[in-house]
């Protein structure tokens, strides 16, 4: 059974003349452990797709089966629980809490989990170590570089050991050196820890880290291809 399966999924905003079709009759299957890059011009519906797949937004028509179960049938608290335990989000704008240390930021998903409080520190520090930020654990976001901020955000996405990592243009705000570091971490999460990765990007050299590239145009899947010469770790040349 596929981890993610959507059938004839549509998302429509507004009514009448203001109607916007962000997604139209989209079909998509993503298996466990896959690494999918979603590309497309702005307004093509790639962010909407990611938000729907990550339970951050609802859809208008069609079906979304997560782990074989229709998502519309999950109760609100179950949805929150799934977001907490199965998903990790990485955003273009980092979304770290200001005036709050990296350690506390990384702990945040644990607050809403069943993990006992005494283990929070340990788990958060391990996640920070995994992204190579141990020396910055007590720093606040304003004291970090862009790349460090995104690595902190990745640590936060990892702390609950999720199954799926959703990354919405994670390198969009970074210089190429920092972007490389971030993509290396995401690449290793997929190859070494077998995490499913769904990545939005508009840079081809970033997308080529994935096994598969889906191109969207005007809310419809334009193409869905496997990457023939996939880039490996450390390969971030334009």
């Amino acid at each position: 059974m596929a981890l993610i399966e959507i059938k004839k999924l549509s998302k429509i905003y507004g009514e009448g003349d203001n109607e916007t079709r962000a997604l139209l009759n989209t079909d998509l299957v993503i298996e466990r452990g896959d690494f999918v890059a979603v590309m497309g011009p702005s307004g093509s519906g790639k962010s909407t797709l990611l938000h729907i797949l990550g339970f951050l937004d609802d859809y208008s028509f069609g079906q979304y089966l997560f782990d074989g179960k229709e998502v519309g049938k999950y109760l609100p608290d179950e949805v929150a629980r799934l977001r907490n335990q199965k998903f990790g989000f990485v955003f273009q704008a980092f979304n770290l809490l200001p005036r709050t240390s990296v350690l506390e930021n990384v702990k945040m998903p644990l607050v809403y989990s069943d993990v006992p409080e005494r283990e929070w520190d340990n788990l958060a520090r391990r996640a920070i170590e995994a992204v190579g930020l141990t020396h910055r654990a007590e720093h606040e976001p304003s004291q970090l570089s862009g790349g460090e901020k995104q690595r902190a955000a990745i640590a936060r996405a990892l702390v609950n050991n999720p199954e799926v990592i959703f990354a919405d243009e994670p390198t969009g705000n970074l210089d190429s050196k920092s972007g490389k570091a971030v993509m290396d971490i995401i690449w290793r999460l997929n190859t070494e820890q077998k995490k499913t990765v769904i990545l939005i990007t508009h840079e081809t050299y970033t997308a080529e880290h994935a096994r598969r590239i889906i191109r969207l145009l005007d809310g419809e899947v334009e193409s869905d291809q496997l990457v023939s010469n996939r880039r490996g770790e450390g390969d971030f040349e334009k």
Binding site: G54, D77, A80, R83, F89, F91, N95, V111
Partner: protein
């Protein structure tokens, strides 16, 4: 979401906006301070009055002539002259009122006193020698009446401190001097100490004469304005009230208690009445003070709404990492409740401090026998009310936060 962690998070967020938090709770602080002060000072005033009534003696019973008119046609027959000498004699009989320890008839009325070319409007109290013990006031100069002076209708007078100030120059000899009241010449045998204008029962501006003298020579009446009776023990008050009523009804040929031409008042009744009045007054003032809490609550709501808007992205993020609507609701509710509770605690401290200061000023500089009371009830009330204000006015902003769609919240700029 863990409570301890939630509280820590809420406190941290409030501390981040320290100045704003402080200004926000000012309304609550003022409201709780006002309530604390009203309750503490209200209790102080009540105690002051009750103590003064109690100082007259809890074994005292007052008999007042007259009755409430039952209608307009009845208004003429209020029997203000119903208490006579025979009543006093009969009440003194052991067979009628066995627990009577002493009885003091009182006659009083306004008079003009003169001395040379000095004129002073004052009040005459005609009493007997139990006066000093019952009201706990003794002449600071001179003496009380003798029993002989009472029975022989002597023209002697004990004057209050204010009367002395009005009729005499400072340093002038007072004892033995004469003053005139209604064509009677009275010889001063004593001067009462100054008890202060805040006293509930004051003889500062009064002339104290034997009741016999007052009846015959000053007012020309045969009845009494009041009879004060002391029982042997406090326990016998209820029984004595019944004995008094039986004796007086007998004397006045009354069979129907509805038609009594006198009232019997006990100390306890008077205290009850004072308590009821002061409690109502305190409650009313506290209610007025509570209005400021509503104003403060609206301020809290306003700033919490601002906070929710400002932190839209934080809300979106928390939801994205697994926060339920409930945990977001609790987080913001906790912030407003902590905010108002802190305001409540500051208000309690401030209100208690100010009440203590005012009590100190009243007792040390104004000379009142005023005791500071720590209003424990008001403390719980203040804490409860301030917490409730946070809850009531925090629920709307917190709901606004909880209902945000995570995707829209994350997109918010």
């Amino acid at each position: 979401m863990r409570l301890k962690y939630s509280i820590k998070t809420a406190v941290k967020s409030l501390r981040t906006n320290r100045n704003r938090s402080f200004l926000t709770i000012l309304g609550i602080v003022i409201g709780i301070t006002a309530i604390m002060m009203v309750m503490s000072l209200g209790k102080g005033a009540q105690d002051l009055i009750l103590n003064q009534i109690a100082s007259i003696g809890s074994k005292t019973i007052a008999i007042v002539p007259g009755r409430h008119p039952t209608g307009i046609s009845d208004s003429m027959s209020t029997f203000t002259d119903s208490l006579k000498n025979k009543d006093v004699e009969d009440l003194q009989k052991k067979s009628n009122v066995p627990h009577l320890a002493r009885i003091m008839p009182i006659v009083f009325g306004p008079v003009v006193s003169t001395r040379g070319n000095k004129v002073h409007q004052t009040t005459v109290f005609g009493v007997n020698n139990f006066f000093a013990e019952i009201y706990n006031i003794y002449p600071e100069d001179g003496r009380l009446f003798t029993d002989e002076e009472v029975s022989s209708k002597s023209s002697v007078v004990i004057i209050g401190s204010k009367v002395k100030d009005e009729l005499f120059e400072p340093g002038e000899t007072v004892l033995g001097q004469k003053i005139r009241v209604k064509n009677q010449t009275l010889r001063i045998i004593g001067v009462l100490p100054n008890k202060g204008q805040f006293s509930f029962i004051s003889f500062d501006d009064a002339l104290i004469v034997p009741y016999t003298t007052a009846q015959q020579y000053i007012f020309g009446i045969k009845y009494f304005n009041r009879l004060v009776i002391e029982t042997d023990t406090e326990a016998n008050i209820a029984a004595t009230v019944i004995d008094i009523e039986t004796t007086l009804r007998n004397n006045h040929n009354i069979t129907d208690p509805e038609k009594d031409d006198f009232f019997v008042e006990t100390q306890a009744q008077a205290m009850d009445m004072v308590s009821t009045i002061t409690n109502a007054l305190t409650l009313f003032l506290a209610a007025v003070a509570a209005i400021s809490l509503v104003v403060g609550g609206v301020g809290i709501m306003n700033i919490m709404l601002v906070s929710v808007t400002e932190r839209t992205r934080e809300i979106g993020l928390r939801k994205a990492v697994g926060a339920t609507n409930r945990s977001i609701l609790i987080q913001f509710l906790l912030e407003s409740v902590i905010l108002t509770s802190v305001g409540g605690i500051i208000g309690i401290a401030l209100g208690t401090g100010l009440s203590f200061l005012i009590s100190l000023i009243l007792s040390k500089f104004v000379g009142l026998n005023w005791a500071f009371t720590f209003p424990l009830m008001a403390v719980f009330l203040g804490l409860g009310v301030s917490g409730a204000v946070g809850l009531v006015f925090g629920i709307y902003p917190a709901r606004q936060a909880a209902m945000k769609s995570p995707m829209e919240a994350l997109r918010y700029e």
